[in-house]
């Protein structure tokens, strides 16, 4: 029952690109050009569904740079499988759309 919006699919595609990599919210905002108010609800929904696992950044990483610890998100094994399936469905729909006749040339 996950609400699969276009923005959610964008987030999933970035995460699936490198499933072992951990991303933080702001990073996804910048990569996708989506607002913070869009990204965090998506991340929390995915986390609730068990597709993502979030954790605090390792102290050794951020202490050097003197900034507070970030919250990092990573695909779970199940999440990666589900995300893959859902994106495959999207790709099929896009193929249908591309092969559909256009209005141009119709009398």
């Amino acid at each position: 029952m996950l609400r699969m919006t276009l923005q959610t699919r964008l987030v999933l595609s970035v995460l699936l690109d490198d499933p072992r990599r951990e991303r933080y919210g702001l990073e996804l905002c910048e990569l996708l050009g989506l607002a913070s108010g869009t990204i965090y609800p998506i991340l929390s929904r995915l986390e609730q569904a068990g597709w993502l696992l979030s954790s605090w950044e390792d102290p050794t990483v951020h202490e050097e740079s003197g900034r507070p610890r970030r919250r990092l998100y990573r695909l779970t094994d199940d999440g990666a499988v589900q995300a893959g399936r859902s994106l495959e469905r999207t790709r099929k729909q896009l193929r249908l759309l591309r092969s559909a006749p256009s209005w141009e040339g119709r009398a």
Binding site: Y24, C29, A35, S36, P41, Q48, G66, P68, R69
Partner: protein, 313 residues
């Protein structure tokens, strides 16, 4: 007076103490209060309040009565004229031992010390970190760094995850204090919509991101986005099964406020006031229905209904 002081300790206790245990703890509290009378913490509070807080923390971790007594008396050897012999005579070796070990504990000995002594040390540090605002900034930084480096891993090793997490949060907050900007203020304000249990986590997450944004415009854009998305995030978080209880509590509080408001408007005996109250009640009811929906069932059933109606045509 001791009874008032001890109330939080007894309330927090998770171990089973008998009346003899409670009597000994009360005695330790009286002795500690007498010995430290007149001594003040940096915050201006009397020293005994710190000792009671430490005792509350260890009690909450399932400590025995002996360790709670040791918590109440953990500074007597260092800060008063009380001697180790007097301590041993009055309270026995089970209390005197940990107090002495804690007083003598050096950095090097920490990994090999007794679990009970380490619990006392962590509890002492936890309360100090909670009240760290009252010491000099340099000391704050040193203590926080030391906490993260040595004591948090220690807490984790002993299985005291709650203590470890709070120490981490406090130390990080001290080291990277939030700049009080308008952006962080509006985010914090709108975050009251979120369930209380997760509010701190999200605020900490966003504070970390806000701290890295280079320009004021980027900060403002990020904060504005969060504020706009807050109702949606609140709805998502509140429809999870774990937050239903707090959401129900909030719903009840809202309902009683509405009822109270309408009642006041009715007694004021003005049709305008009543109409306004009814309108406000209607808006709140609508918002509540949206915010506190706990399942997709109604929406799904509605969709199925529409599908079947469409198929019939």
């Amino acid at each position: 007076m001791t009874d008032n002081l001890l109330a939080p300790v007894l309330a927090a206790a998770t171990a089973a103490w008998d009346t003899d245990d409670v009597r000994r703890i009360a005695h330790a509290c009286r002795v500690a209060e007498r010995l430290h009378r007149g001594q003040l913490r940096r915050s201006g509070d009397p020293e005994i309040s710190h000792l009671v807080e430490v005792a509350t923390i260890v009690a909450g971790q399932g400590a025995s009565a002996d360790i709670v007594c040791a918590a109440l008396l953990h500074d007597v050897l260092e800060d008063t004229q009380y001697t180790i012999e007097e301590l041993r005579d009055e309270f026995g070796p089970a209390v005197a031992g940990p107090v002495q070990a804690l007083t003598r504990l050096t950095e090097a000995e920490v990994p090999t010390a007794d679990r009970e002594v380490l619990l006392l040390k962590l509890a002492d540090r936890l309360h100090n970190m909670r009240t760290i605002a009252f010491v000099a900034p340099d000391t704050q930084r040193t203590k926080s760094t030391e906490t993260l480096r040595t004591l948090v891993p220690l807490a984790r090793r002993l299985g005291l995850t709650g203590v470890g997490e709070e120490l981490t949060e406090l130390a990080n907050r001290t080291l990277h204090g939030e700049r009080r900007t308008l952006s962080s203020a509006v985010v914090r304000g709108s975050a009251v919509l979120l369930p209380r249990s997760v509010r701190a986590r999200w605020l900490a997450e966003w504070a970390a991101e806000l701290a890295t944004l280079p320009t004021r415009r980027a900060t403002a854009r990020f904060a504005a986005g969060l504020v706009i998305g807050m109702p949606r995030l609140a709805w998502i978080l509140r429809s999870s099964p774990t937050s239903r209880r707090s959401t129900a509590r909030l719903g009840r509080r809202l309902a009683s406020t509405v009822v109270g408001g309408v009642w006041v408007a009715a007694t004021v005996d003005s049709t305008l006031a009543l109409a306004a109250a009814a309108a406000i009640a209607g808006c709140i009811a609508l918002a509540a229905a949206v915010l506190f929906t706990t399942s997709d069932e109604p929406a799904r059933r509605l969709r199925e209904l529409i599908e079947s109606w469409r198929n019939q045509r």
